[in-house]
């Protein structure tokens, strides 16, 4: 699913100016800069392909190369995001929530797109890759500037408004991709364990994917409304401050 939702608590910690050890600050700065840089690299590639896509009228072949060209960078940065869990331990925000977020991203990258080759050229893949990229750039820029105590308002604005459209679009892209992958999974019987066996266990990857899709129904609204509440707190809180001035 879309970006991390531990932001809220991290925000509070940062606005309260909780004193971090020099090691923690150094780590955070390094981490956020690297992540921002990595994503900024993938953006120009996407822009080039997006332009190519737009120039020629929509044909399947035009975005065929997209995933393959950015896959290495994408895999690297999404797996690198495992470090985000350690990052949470350093700033002491919710490890469980971020862990779930990171795991769901890794699931999409490795267990869906990477493993199920036929769907790599689907439009739905482009859909969520785009939203992930844009959201991650805003998010990491936000963290980086915040850490350096020099946050331009428009970045804060972007970070708390873009998600309103990006989250649903990203989710649609992810769900369509998983749904598109189902026939291939069923046919190949991949990642599945069948009965009979000595320990009476079975695993059906096809059913697992369906359960994952169903899990979006309770989980996504919680995430979305959490972000909306954060938005109201951060942006609305400023309006109150202005009035007081």
């Amino acid at each position: 699913m879309a970006p991390s939702e531990e932001d809220g608590s991290m925000e509070e910690k940062e606005t309260k100016k909780k004193p971090l050890s020099p090691f923690a600050t150094a780590w955070l700065t390094f981490y956020n800069i690297t992540m921002t840089a990595g994503l900024l690299i993938s953006v120009p590639r996407w822009l080039v392909l997006a332009v190519a896509m737009i120039r020629f009228s929509y044909q399947k072949r035009t975005h065929k190369g997209l995933y393959r060209s950015i896959q290495k960078t994408l895999k690297f940065f999404q797996t690198f995001a495992l470090l985000e869990i350690i990052h949470c331990a350093v700033v002491r925000t919710s490890v469980l929530v971020t862990g779930v977020q990171v795991m769901s991203r890794i699931f999409m990258v490795w267990f869906v797109i990477h493993s199920i080759r036929p769907i790599q050229n689907e439009e739905s893949v482009v859909l969520f890759l785009v939203t992930w990229t844009v959201t991650e750039i805003t998010r990491y820029s936000f963290y980086t500037f915040n850490l350096l105590n020099h946050l331009p308002y428009f970045i804060k604005w972007a970070r708390y408004n873009f998600f309103i459209i990006l989250y649903p679009i990203g989710v649609v892209g992810e769900l369509l991709t998983i749904y598109g992958a189902l026939p291939f999974v069923k046919k190949s019987g991949m990642y599945s364990l069948r009965l009979p066996n000595k320990f009476n266990v079975s695993f059906d990857y096809y059913t697992c994917l369906i359960i994952v899709m169903i899990a979006y129904i309770p989980l996504f609204p919680q995430l979305y409304f959490h972000m909306l509440r954060q938005r109201r707190k951060v942006l609305h809180g400023e309006v109150i401050k202005e009035k007081e001035d």
Binding site: L195, P196, N197, F199, N200, V201, S202
Partner: protein, 340 residues
Amino acid sequence: WRPRPLSSRGCRSSLGGLLLQARERERVREADMKHYEVEILDARTKQKLTFLDKVEPNATIGEIKVMFHKNHTRWYPARQSIRLDPKGKSLRDEEILQNLPVGTTATLYFKDLGAQIGWVTVFLTEYAGPLLIYLLFYFRLPFIYGPKHAFTSSPHSVVHLACICHSFHYIKRLLETLFVHRFSHGTMPFRNIFKNCTYYWGFAAWLAYHINHPLYTPPAYGDKQVKIALAIFLFCQLGNFSIHVALRNLRPPGSKARRIPFPTKNPFTWLFLLVSCPNYTYEVGSWIGFTIMTQCLPVALFTLVGFVQMAIWANGKHRSYLKDFRDYPPLRTPIIPFLL
């Protein structure tokens, strides 16, 4: 020998002493009549929600909650958290107003705990599910294993035994919920019912699917394995029940008093010597028995997850025992003797 002061007992018999007594009695009566004023603010917004005047000094928090509910009908007492400090701990219902560190105009803070549901309701729902779901798989309803195996019966005796054990376990739990357990809190947050039911019902379906599957493989060591596993299972079921009864007897009806549990005449309760929460120990034991009996990995996983959760609960309980009781037996560990 020292002369006694005038205010001592010897004085009471005199007229001056009688006057003194009368004046004291009047003062005491005045104190009784001194009513408290209670204002209740929202813990988050500090907005004044209710002002209660003429509150008896010996009113309990529970009674104040009822009065608060009259003014705000959507916040029934079970979902009110009343505290002295906006970020403080919730006051217990039994606390008496005049014993609290407040003046005669008391300011209390309210936090909404959200919709609540009764523990009994939750327990009954979460246990009835696995009982019925397992039977759907045992009888092989057509939509589960396909029409070819619909309503067929397994040739393996262990499958029938497993059904009996599983059903017995959940019937026991349902009966205990109705007749044995005494709950400290009446309610829990409403959302818990979805979380809990997903866990219990989901796992029940997953393990029942495998045990009752037409391609089920019986245990590798055959009857010997099943017999030993059954013995473990029954032993632990009896143990678990004994502990529940012992815990019930620890607390007289209607009381919320906390006491240290000790071994009774029942040998199963002797585990209290080594462990704070032997009910959890026996519960894990039962499921280990069931795992060995069925030799089924989903059951093993259910046992493992259950163990982790119960270990966490046991640890919390153990800590709160240590906090509340200075003379808590030092030999006891939370759930596994000597280890955990």
